[in-house]
């Protein structure tokens, strides 16, 4: 277990509005972190800071090892699906190949190794059959798999997923978490979910982001612990459905 990203008392925001206040988080190479929190609380802002899309106003983000030292980017990113133009004329194969964009230089030739990598990734995610389809013909779940394939084709050390469970059905969500669980053996994963209701039991730790960040080092809370804390929400559950209750905290 080694540390790959170190976020230290980061303040970040857009224009004059500070959204993230004094956020610190260490990410280790075997982490599977679920990020939850209300809309506008700064989940996406935090992702943007980690991805290097947004410079923090204060504080530092350090990438350990070779994560950000050369052109060979070691962070895989799956954006929110509504940011993607579904009418754009591009095939599944090309979308996945674009995960190796840092290699496409002059004359735009991709090596055989790149094409092989793309094929292997398509197979791993189970979407070989739609390889040559234009993205406009895909369902929400298929699209999500394509974006996941693009995120991991470069064999990243950190995989960041922004609300991958929107626009998909429950069956796909189960499938997705199975794949992520497998991937977690090779890379750290950060997943942002839009509601607490459906976070995977594979998630190891939970970070609650609402302007500030509250890190729950475990994804489980025992019944004794439950009794000790006031629960901020009412829980309705059917018997053995796994669920997590986080202790009340102030942001």
């Amino acid at each position: 277990m080694s540390k790959i990203v170190e976020i230290k008392s980061v303040f970040a925001g857009y224009n004059d509005e500070i959204i993230l206040k004094d956020v610190s988080l260490d990410i280790f190479d075997d982490d599977f972190i679920g990020i939850i929190g209300p809309n506008g609380g700064g989940k996406t802002t935090l992702l943007n800071v980690i991805l290097g899309l947004l410079k923090p106003l204060k504080g530092s983000v350090k990438f350990c090892d070779d994560l950000r030292t050369d052109r060979n980017n070691k962070i895989g990113y799956l954006p929110q699906q509504n940011k993607i133009d579904k009418k754009f004329p591009i095939t599944v194969k090309d979308v996945v190949l674009s995960g190796l964009i840092y290699k496409s230089g002059f004359l735009s030739r991709h090596s055989k190794a790149d094409k092989l990598k793309t094929d292997n990734t398509l197979e791993r995610i189970g979407i070989c059959n739609i390889k040559n389809s234009p993205i406009g013909e895909l369902s929400g779940g298929q699209m999500q798999k394509v974006l996941l394939a693009r995120a991991i084709v470069s064999s990243p050390r950190l995989l960041i997923l922004d609300e991958p469970n929107t626009f998909v059905d429950n069956q796909f969500e189960g499938e997705l978490y199975e794949i992520l669980n497998e991937l977690n053996k090779e890379m750290a994963i950060i997943i942002v979910t839009h509601d607490v209701g459906t976070i995977s039991s594979y998630v190891k730790t939970i970070a609650c982001v609402n302007r500030s960040l509250h890190y729950h080092k475990s994804n489980k809370i025992s019944e004794e612990q439950l009794a000790l804390y006031d629960c901020p929400i009412k829980l309705i559950t059917h018997g053995d459905v796994p669920h997590t209750v986080l202790k009340k905290h102030n942001h």
Partner: protein, 277 residues
């Protein structure tokens, strides 16, 4: 009739202009349409009229000043919309009308009658000069080289800029270069169909091509071919019934689009019928 037409130099020039316009607009139009930059391109087109007015007033080639003006407004829109709190489409609206206002002011300040002003507004492919042809040929060559050499980078950035940024690609730089090429393409094609109509050369062939292919590269190639057919038909109509070539070219392109759409619909119907049986 064709050999008779080719005897006139202005006819060969206009044919050449039609071919070159199809190439440059086929390539840049595909970029504009797939990135949903049609309104932005409309803004650049009209803003460049400011450059034409300035060219008239100071007495140099209006196309040169329009190119400078067009590129500056394109870069301005790209720069301001990414940074300020003003919405991008509002920035475009402001520059759109500002350019027109500057153009009208300078045209009216220019002493005497402004010759050929109508040809800039509505296009006049028959008055295309040899210099215009050379500029268009140079532009087409640059576009072909850029789009072949950097095809994948352009495709990937157009598809998902943010993702490209996370991979440390110089997205802003490439955006600035491409938007300048958009402005140049618009300005150099103004002579062919005019400010009011140039946006059609950048959108109608692409929309027609997009009916049949969902592949970026194929849309470029098909748009060029469709543009060529439209330009040739338009020129013949323009010559036959003596109307401005810009209007007849766009008229032909729209007819081609409608026919293509009808063809696509009937093919779909036949397919559906076959499935039912």
């Amino acid at each position: 009739m064709i050999s008779e037409l080719l005897q006139y130099k202005f006819i060969t020039n206009s044919l050449l202009a039609g071919i070159l316009a199809s190439i440059s607009c086929g390539i840049i139009g595909t970029y504009i349409v797939t990135r949903r930059m049609v309104f932005l391109s409309g803004g650049i087109t009209h803003a460049s009229f400011g450059g034409i007015g300035i060219g008239y007033f100071f007495g140099f080639n209006p196309i040169i000043s329009a190119a400078v003006f067009g590129i500056l407004s394109a870069l301005g829109i790209e720069f301001v919309s990414k940074r300020s709190e003003i919405r991008e489409d509002s920035v475009i609206g402001i520059l759109w009308s500002f350019g027109m206002a500057v153009g009208i002011m300078f045209v009216f300040l220019t002493p005497g009658y402004a010759p050929n002003l109508m040809s800039y507004l509505f296009g006049s492919i028959l008055t295309v000069s040899t210099l215009d042809i050379l500029l268009m040929a140079g532009l087409s060559l640059i576009l072909i080289i850029v789009f072949i050499a950097f095809y994948r980078i352009i495709l990937f950035i157009s598809y998902d800029q943010e993702f490209a940024k996370t991979h440390r690609i110089a997205v802003s730089l490439i955006n600035y270069i491409l938007i300048s090429l958009v402005a140049l393409t618009i300005v150099l094609n103004i002579k062919v169909v005019g400010i009011i109509l140039v946006i059609s050369l950048l959108t109608i062939p692409q929309s027609t091509a997009n009916l049949f292919t969902k592949n970026f590269k194929n849309i470029i190639i098909a748009s060029i071919v469709i543009g060529l057919i439209g330009a040739f038909l338009g020129l013949v109509i323009s010559y036959k019934i003596n109307i401005p070539s810009g209007a007849s070219i766009i008229f032909s392109l729209v007819i081609i689009f409608i026919l293509a759409k009808l063809f696509q619909l009937s093919v779909r119907k036949i397919k559906l019928k076959k499935q039912k049986v």
